[in-house]
Amino acid sequence: MFRSRIRLAAVLAVVALALAGCGGDDEPSGGSTATPGELKVFAAASLTAAFTEIGEQFTSANGTKVTFNFAGSQALATQIQQAAPADVFASADIANMDKVTDLVGTPQNFASNQLQIVVEKGNPKNVQGLDDLANPDLKVVLAAAEVPAGKYAAESLAKAGVTVKPVSEEDNVKAVVTKVSLGEADAGIVYVTDVTAGGDKVQGVEIPEELNVLATYPIATVKASKAQDQAQAFMDQVLGAEGQQVLKQHGFLPPPTT
């Protein structure tokens, strides 16, 4: 009796394993009738504060729970390529959206952002602009070249003709702010919105318009999602008046009009 029960359990386990093994092949790639009460949104780390707020609005309006996966856009794009269960993808640059172009619906730009130099509150090292970052006595932290913020920072530094030797290339833009707010680094280049979100331990130093870069944020639904309707609804929320208002409050600029 006992032994046969174990045997049954084992057989069930094998069947479950076999089913799980072939599950990926026949997944529907379009709108499904299933209505799960949960939406998974993969969003760039720089969107953390704004999207959390938009997610709360969305949940109270639609009853759908939203869970976020905030990370560097390049990491999220890789995860989506490896069939991570995402319903919506919001990237901090066009390039990473293009990387998954076959896996997502038509992207729409919903915000833009600019760069700032982040320094400790009170600017103890008196950083005035990009030129100062070349000072070898200054510990500068950048996002890695793979991260959108790192790529934009490199573009901005190139425009200014400044060569910076960073002490670290962080994996996402929030880590740059963290290192500055902990006092480990003297300066970093991040988005304006990260300085706002960084609280009272950091402050921003403006980068003039002609040296700055306009980061464009696209959003798209993921084709493999089984919650297409809710995914589209979330996208509409971000693009709609309410979502745009939240983004503006967190320092984002409207998307480029072109």
Binding site: I6, Q74, V167
Partner: protein, 278 residues
């Protein structure tokens, strides 16, 4: 026991074990599932390996730099662990002192602590504004984050417990009568240590060093949190795998493969200790 006797005993052992094994036969199924669960990811890694271009991947400057740095840092971490950890293991195994259990618990804490938490703790202790770090900075102008020394420190923090508990276990298991005999014959503490104790615990010490080194080599969380990520300075193999994974899957697989083979090498080196009858 002579070598022949040991061999004979080894050969005899499986027969006895078979007669006495009263393991339910149905255990074979979950056991097979467990083996599959542990082995399939490795097969997946090997299956996706771009064998055609692997030579080029392995000799690319980025991989070589990460490999060199990983060897430097893990060896450094082992050196720190041996210098500080072996004396600690002696105290824990041999000396009764108040709070010994507390010290042992503290020593093993990094083994169960999430490494990222370890990294944050290291920042708050040895960072530029940290408890010890601000003093180091003021007195000597030394800052550890973003340096290779910082990466070594992070790895040692996570890996040292493996050495300490292995050596302590070896010291407890060893027959102390050899030391007593040496002492009766007039040998001093250092002579006994050098000529009797260390040779007797050599297998434990070797296993501890190997485990400690392997753990240091694989260290990720504490390193990226405390030491940051800069190629050639703090970007060790696991960090390079993680960063490469986001842009260049093939490079990430090649790097992973190196780590896999190094880990296998450590296992093979330890086989006599862990699988004595195999």
């Amino acid at each position: 026991m002579t070598a022949t006797a040991r061999r004979r005993q080894r050969r005899a052992a499986p027969a006895v074990a078979r007669a006495r094994s009263r393991v339910p036969r149905s255990f074979a199924v979950p056991a097979a599932l467990a083996v599959g669960f542990l082995a399939i990811p490795l097969v997946g890694l090997l299956g996706r390996t771009p064998w055609g271009s692997i030579g080029a991947e392995l000799t690319s400057p980025r991989v070589l730099e990460a490999l060199r740095l990983s060897l430097v840092c893990s060896t450094g971490a082992v050196a720190v662990s041996v210098a500080l950890g072996v004396p600690l293991a002696f105290l824990l195994a041999r000396v009764e002192f108040p709070g010994r259990n507390l010290v042992r618990a503290l020593t093993t804490l990094p083994m169960v602590l999430p490494p990222v938490v370890g990294g944050v703790a290291l920042l708050l202790a040895f960072g530029r504004r940290g408890l010890v770090g601000q003093w180091l900075d003021r007195a000597f102008g030394i800052t550890l984050p973003f340096t290779t020394a910082g990466a070594i420190l992070a790895e040692a923090f996570v890996a040292m417990p493996f050495l300490v508990i292995t050596v302590e276990a070896g010291l407890r298991a060893m027959d102390r009568r050899f030391e007593d005999a040496a002492a009766t014959l007039g040998a001093g503490r250092w002579t006994i240590l050098r000529r009797v104790t260390l040779p007797l615990i050599a297998p434990s010490l070797g296993a501890g060093v190997a485990l400690c080194w392997a753990r240091a080599l694989g260290e990720f969380g504490a390193t990226i949190t405390f030491a940051g990520n800069l190629p050639g300075v703090t970007q060790t193999m696991p960090l390079a795998v993680y960063i490469a994974l986001e842009t260049d899957l093939e490079a990430a697989i090649a790097l992973s493969l190196i780590l896999l083979f190094i880990s296998l090498g450590v296992l093979v080196a330890l086989r006599d200790r862990w699988f004595p009858s195999a």
